[in-house]
């Protein structure tokens, strides 16, 4: 993890165009993001988007404030690294012949990756973990010849009972506490 990396999760209305609103905001405000993942939640009308980006506090502050202004964004929160579970899924296709196959299977076992496809000349491995684990796995496999890989982008959930939907809205958060 880079020092200036941060993760933001948000709940958004599950409607056509919402992802465009969110990603369009990043483009027009010149916010560079590293990954974005989106999926449905336990609540029928809401999707959850998780983004990772890196930059200073100014950038993080502006990203959160500008996202909070979008009508379709219901909750937006930075996810603390020390109190959240963060996971990413990696699918990686590596060249594998009779000579290298057993070494690759051994690596998969050490990294606790799953073999999801095996052909006479290739292997597809699946791994979930924090970003650093995925990156270590990729680096380890590089000498064997990576054919292609794809990653889902990070998704994140906080530890403990309280769900994201019970977080205070941006306005509540910025309102009188006394």
């Amino acid at each position: 993890m880079d020092n200036d990396e941060f993760v933001i999760s948000m709940l958004v209305n599950n409607e056509a165009g919402v992802l465009t609103r969110v990603s369009g905001l990043f483009a027009r405000r010149d916010f560079n993001i590293d990954s974005l993942s989106v999926g449905v939640t336990e609540q029928p009308g809401l999707s959850r988007i998780t983004i990772t980006a890196h930059g200073d506090d100014y950038l993080k502050d502006q990203i959160i404030k500008q996202l909070a202004k979008l009508q379709d964004v219901k909750v937006v929160k930075p996810m603390p690294f020390n109190n959240s579970v963060m996971r990413e899924l990696l699918l990686i296709k590596v060249q594998a012949d009779r000579d290298t196959r057993s070494a690759l299977l051994e690596a998969a076992s050490v990294f606790r990756a799953k073999v999801v496809d095996l052909k006479s000349d290739s292997i597809i491995l699946e791994i979930t973990g924090e970003r650093s684990k995925c990156e270590a796995f990729i680096e380890y496999l590089r000498p064997y010849g990576i054919v292609e890989l794809c990653r889902t982008g990070l998704t994140s959930i906080s530890r403990g009972l309280k769900p994201l939907k019970d977080s205070k809205s941006f306005v509540e958060e910025n309102s009188a506490k006394e």
Binding site: Q66, S175, A176
Partner: protein
């Protein structure tokens, strides 16, 4: 009772208090226009010459009245012609609802005739937008759109309604949305701000358009008296404080008054109220706040720290926040600061006057002011004439200065002035424009004539795109690329041909008689005033500059 989508639109507008809309009919809004015909006793519709004129009119209407402006346009080109006007309302935080028709749902995505994805196009320039494909959602969406447009920091909302949705029947129950909650401040934050204000030595109040939107002039003046501070204004804040108020220094920034910028530079506490620190107002952002703390009051949390870091941020409606602050700040008397302020105000650098015995922008604007009353609305286009109006016109009441600030859209003026006439219930309205800006949307003179609007158009003609020419003179070694246009337009005959009255003023002695006749007319009048091509807007702080870089003389 079942009604059609089109009828629902009109009923929803009426229940939102709308009695005047601007627009242009077309294929995809025929059903809406049919209902406008039926409801013409309740809603007046003003048909402009071009959708851009209609959206600027809705904008001008909203600014003078404080109500939500409404514009209607058809699909495709009708919708895209709104884009500049929507962006203009977005950048100046003007409450606006734009209703566009679109092709029927089964034709969407097929590149059908006059089909454009207008929600996609306007996504970056609206607070929010909708395409309504289910007539049962239409009522809710319209009321939500009004709530969003007028709540918090106001802004434009677009609703795209396919033709078949306008034709479908549905049930409709009238209701009004509750406004969204706005952030408020904790006691500790208010205390921290009050302490800074009580303990500072050289406070400076810097106001923006938020003071006008919040109708907070009274609270502002009480606050300034209480803490004994001078007031400078961004262009958007002009007219919030009467020009002759002893605490008022005028406009700050690129073409602001010398004193307004110099005194700001010497202050130790900047209290910024309802302003977003535009680059045109601040110049170099690091130098702008050097040696001072900033208290930033704004309704939009994302403005806090966006352009200028705040030492204390107070969120909320300006009027409310000022009332809260007034409860905590002490009466102060700062004679030495007052003296320093007065000395700068009285310095010769603060008195850049044009010769009073010549026909020049200042003599023209001052002469027009003498014919106007305190509540006369003054609109402008964009360029040198706009800055001269901001500098030389003596504004007395909030909502009397209507200008395109953030977007700087040439062509804004004609539409805005038409909207202002309707928004004030037909009061005399002045438009300062120029040969460049007027040529952009002069077609709307026809709209002013059709409606016999009490509009006095003062066109400063320097036969050039003056502001760009000024930059070419100052920063591009007088290479006047495409700014000397050699138009041969005869404005008097043009005005007459379009059904208005026209005057031409070439000398100072012709000015008064022309103005006297113009202000006596009940319908639209155009006065062309010839000015020097090399007249400059001064002072000028070059882009990203500071008060030390100020150019006082040409």
């Amino acid at each position: 009772m079942k009604i059609t989508g089109a009828e629902l639109i009109i009923r929803a507008l009426i229940s939102e208090g709308v009695d005047c809309v601007f627009g242009y009919p077309g294929g995809a809004v025929l059903n809406i226009y049919d209902e406008l015909y039926k409801f013409s006793a309740q809603i007046k519709h003003i048909a402009t010459c071009h959708e851009q004129g209609a959206v600027h009119a809705a904008d001008g209407y909203a600014r003078v009245s404080g109500k939500v402006g409404v514009v209607i346009a058809t699909s495709g080109p009708g919708a895209t012609n709104l884009v500049t006007g929507i962006a203009n309302a977005y950048l100046d935080s003007v409450p606006l609802v734009a209703i566009t028709g679109n092709v029927a749902c089964p034709f969407i995505g097929k590149d059908s005739f006059q089909e454009v994805d207008i929600t996609g196009v306007t996504m970056p320039i609206t607070k929010h937008n909708y395409i309504v494909k289910d007539v049962n959602r239409l009522g809710d969406v319209i009321h939500q759109a009004f709530a969003i447009a007028r709540s918090g920091r106001p802004g434009p909302v677009l609703i795209d309604i396919p033709k078949d949705v306008q034709q479908c029947e549905c049930e409709y129950v009238e209701y009004i949305h509750q406004p969204a909650p706005v952030a408020t401040n904790g006691r500790s934050t208010l205390r921290k701000a009050a302490e800074q204000i009580n303990d500072c030595k050289r406070p400076y109040i810097y106001i923006g358009g938020g003071v006008i939107k919040s109708n907070a002039t009274e609270e502002l003046l009480e606050f300034a008296d209480r803490i004994d501070a001078p007031i400078g204004s961004s262009m958007m804040g002009l007219a919030a404080v009467p020009h002759d108020h002893p605490r008022f220094l005028g406009m700050t920034g690129m073409h602001g008054k010398y004193a307004a910028s110099q005194i700001l530079a010497e202050s130790d506490l900047l209290i910024a109220i309802g302003t977003r620190f535009s680059d045109r107002a601040t110049g170099n952002k690091t130098e702008f706040t050097k040696g001072k703390k900033v208290i930033h009051i704004d309704i939009d949390p994302s403005e806090i720290g966006k352009n200028i870091p705040a030492y204390v941020a107070l969120l909320g409606d300006v009027k409310t926040v000022l009332q809260q602050l007034l409860a905590g700040v002490k009466q102060r008397n700062r004679p030495s600061w007052r003296q320093a302020v007065q000395a700068i105000k009285d310095s010769s650098d603060n008195r850049l006057e044009m010769p009073p015995d010549q026909l020049n922008p200042e003599t023209v604007i001052k002469a027009v002011r003498r014919h106007a009353s305190d509540d006369t609305v003054v609109c402008t286009d964009v360029g040198q004439h706009q800055m001269w109006t901001a500098q030389y016109y003596d504004f007395s009441r909030p909502r009397t200065f209507i200008t395109s600030g953030g977007l700087g859209a040439m062509g804004f003026g004609m539409g805005a002035a038409i909207g202002a006439c309707f928004g004030t219930g037909g009061r005399k309205t002045i438009l300062f424009t120029s040969d460049g800006s007027f040529h952009m949307n002069m077609n709307e003179l026809a709209t002013a004539v059709s409606n016999q609007l009490p509009l006095v158009i003062v066109l400063l003609n320097n036969n050039a795109l003056g502001m760009v020419r000024q930059w070419q003179a100052m920063f591009f070694e007088q290479r006047y690329s495409n700014t000397s246009l050699a138009r041969r337009t005869d404005y008097v005959r043009l005005a007459e041909a379009m059904g208005a009255v026209g005057f031409k003023v070439d000398t100072l002695s012709q000015l008064e008689p022309a103005l006297a006749k113009a202000f006596a007319e009940t319908g639209p009048v155009l006065i062309e005033v010839t000015i020097d091509q090399d007249a400059k807007v001064l002072p000028m702080i070059p882009p990203n500059g500071t008060i030390h870089d100020i150019i006082l003389k040409a």
